[in-house]
């Protein structure tokens, strides 16, 4: 066998292995997706949206409490996290720029982005739940907001930097003060990018379970009181899945399906916005 043949055979083996691993990976992932879709669609019905949690065996049980709770928690977290994240990103891109401080903030928030979310749950438990003496929706929302801020901060920073410097200079030349330049020129230029960042940030925290376990805790009943424990899709899913009751497990799969649709939807819309913005 010549050296060339050897290399050709080696090439086939290596490429074959790589293709095979792609197939294996996708097979597993599609297996999970298939389970999710089949179980989820099976368990879906109108009752889920009409009824709250009920003891196992009850026909009239649903997920209304968790759906509403999830929306409240994610909505509050968005309300707290998005403004802070965008403002902080603005500081980095427009004021801090390449200063040492700005780079430190970028690095720290990068690390925050990948650090364990359950630890943030423990932190919020210590600063909010312990002094208050009870679980609350506020605690859950703040835990989610802390996870969200670094994500929004980094995308805002990146997207604002893409706005051409000449646009800013043009606005300055017209006599606009800096805040006006930022608000009406820079933000406008980076609108699509920031919106995508916000959507991806929301998608990321919507799937978080760990930080909610001991902040907003869970509740089997409908509530809108922000000072009480609040049910969420993720924690409900967790509790129902480890329960021994079949109908609760069914509801768990329905919750998983609804949540995944929501998160995938946000991801796809976010990507489309960015794509449409780029094509212009």
């Amino acid at each position: 066998m010549t050296a060339v043949q050897k290399r050709i055979i080696m090439n086939r083996i290596a490429l074959g292995f790589s293709t095979l691993s792609a197939i294996i990976a996708l097979a597993f992932l599609f297996w999970i997706l298939a389970v999710l879709v089949m179980k989820g669609v099976n368990a879906l019905n109108w009752n889920i949206f009409i009824f709250e949690g009920a003891p196992p065996g009850y026909a009239e049980s649903g997920l209304k409490h968790a759906l509403v709770g999830q929306l409240i928690l994610v909505g509050l977290a968005t309300g707290i996290g998005v403004p802070l994240g965008i403002l902080a990103g603005t500081y980095l891109s427009e004021y801090g720029k390449n200063s040492k401080l700005a780079h430190t903030i970028r690095d720290i928030s990068d690390i925050m982005m990948s650090s364990p979310s359950i630890v943030i749950g423990a932190f919020v438990y210590a600063i909010i739940v312990m002094p208050m003496g009870h679980f609350s929706a506020w605690a859950g929302a703040i835990a989610l907001a802390i996870i969200m801020i670094p994500i929004i901060l980094r995308t805002t920073d990146d997207m604002l930097q893409l706005v051409p410097q000449t646009l800013r200079e043009a606005a300055f030349a017209l006599g606009a003060p800096k805040y006006k330049v930022i608000l009406s020129v820079v933000y406008r230029g980076a609108k699509a990018g920031i919106l995508t960042g916000v959507l991806l940030g929301i998608a990321r925290v919507a799937g978080e379970t760990a930080p909610l376990l001991f902040t907003s805790f869970n509740d089997n009943f409908f509530t809108t009181d922000l000072n009480e424990a609040m049910p969420s899709l993720t924690v409900t899913m967790f509790n129902y899945a480890i329960s021994p009751y079949e109908d609760w497990q069914q509801l768990g799969w329905a919750a998983a399906f609804i949540l995944s649709l929501f998160i995938l939807g946000l991801n796809i819309v976010g990507r489309l916005i960015l794509f449409a913005g780029k094509r212009k």
Binding site: N11, F17, S18, T19, S21, A22, A25, L29, W31, I32, L33, V35, L36, G85, L87, A88, T90, Y91, L92, Y95, I108, S109, I111, M112, S114, S115, P116, S117, I118, V119, I120, G121, A122, F123, A126, I127, I149, P150, L153, P177, K178, Y179, L183, G207, T209, A210, L213, F217, T234, M237, F238, A241, I242, Q249, A256, S260, I263, N267, I268, R271
Partner: protein
């Protein structure tokens, strides 16, 4: 006036992130002081975790975290590199964007769903094939591996894609096969980025709670085999935080949280500062 106000608003928000990080460390440290005083170094070297005796040794949980992530890395790294090579070098454009997008979307699926799938579909298979309870180290390692695979493959692919086309084309012009180009041009060029991406995925895996909580078993014992039920730091936190009844118990759990935070901070910082310096990405 408004100008100054706006500037201060943005500066305040940016500083807030530093304050929060520092605050997290301080709070966790303060709350774990009691356990540190009570146990000292025994906290991380003893494996007896007995709430009824007020004895807390985190060794089993720390070992569980290390073992399950190691197993997950052993399983996921070769496949992730294979997928990354497939995505960046082999697949045609159409397949590439289809695969690429599905991998990225799969990375967005909440980890609690991977855990549910593991519990209902994978654990029974392990039980049938290997015997035992099914839940334990092996199940946790596999579920964790599957969960980090999309993220790992996506970032590894991004690292490989940084190789300039001109370098690859030169190697092809010299008569290199695709594999020659991959192993002699792309991998050496993107080495730091690839290793950094893998370590970043490792950092995520250590702190992952929901994917493994279902399938670990939460048993505070040093595992005797790969099938033994065991625990890890995040699993212990998730299961016991709301049940802790004494202040020493609480303090020990905060100690665990601090240990986990420090471990993952170190791992992520190594990935970021040592390997990913040059290839700064969003």
């Amino acid at each position: 006036m408004i100008d100054k106000l706006f500037f201060n608003f943005t500066r305040f928000s940016a500083f807030l992130i530093l304050v929060i990080v520092a605050w997290i460390f301080v709070v966790l440290f303060n709350h774990s002081l009691e356990a540190m005083h009570a146990f000292g170094l025994d906290f991380i070297t003893q494996d007896q975790w007995a709430p009824n005796l007020n004895k807390f040794g985190a060794y089993a949980a720390i070992l569980g975290s290390v073992l399950s992530t190691t197993l997950a890395m052993i399983l996921a790294v070769p496949v992730a590199i294979g997928v990354a090579i497939f995505l960046s070098e082999i697949a045609h454009d159409k397949i590439k964007s289809f695969f690429g997008i599905s991998v990225e979307l799969l990375a967005a699926i909440p980890s609690v769903i991977y855990g549910m799938w593991g519990l209902f579909y994978f654990v029974p298979i392990i039980r049938d094939v290997f015997g035992g309870m099914g839940i334990g180290l092996l199940a946790a390692g596999i579920v964790l591996a599957i969960m980090i695979l999309p993220f790992m493959a996506a970032v590894t692919r991004d690292a490989m894609n940084t190789t300039p086309d001109i370098l690859k084309e030169s190697a092809y012009a010299l008569g290199g096969t695709q594999w020659d180009v991959i192993k002699d041009v792309i991998i050496p060029y993107a080495k730091a980025g690839i290793i950094g991406s893998l370590i970043l995925a490792l950092g995520r895996a250590i702190g992952e709670t929901m994917a493994v909580t279902f399938v670990m078993g939460n048993v505070h014992k040093v595992p005797t085999s790969i099938l033994s039920p065991m625990t890890s730091i995040p699993v212990t936190l998730a299961n016991e935080f709301t049940e802790a009844d004494s202040s020493l118990y609480f303090s020990s759990l905060f100690g665990l949280a601090l240990t986990l935070l420090v471990m993952s901070f170190i791992v992520i910082a190594i990935a970021k500062f040592y390997f990913l310096r040059k290839t700064r990405r969003a």
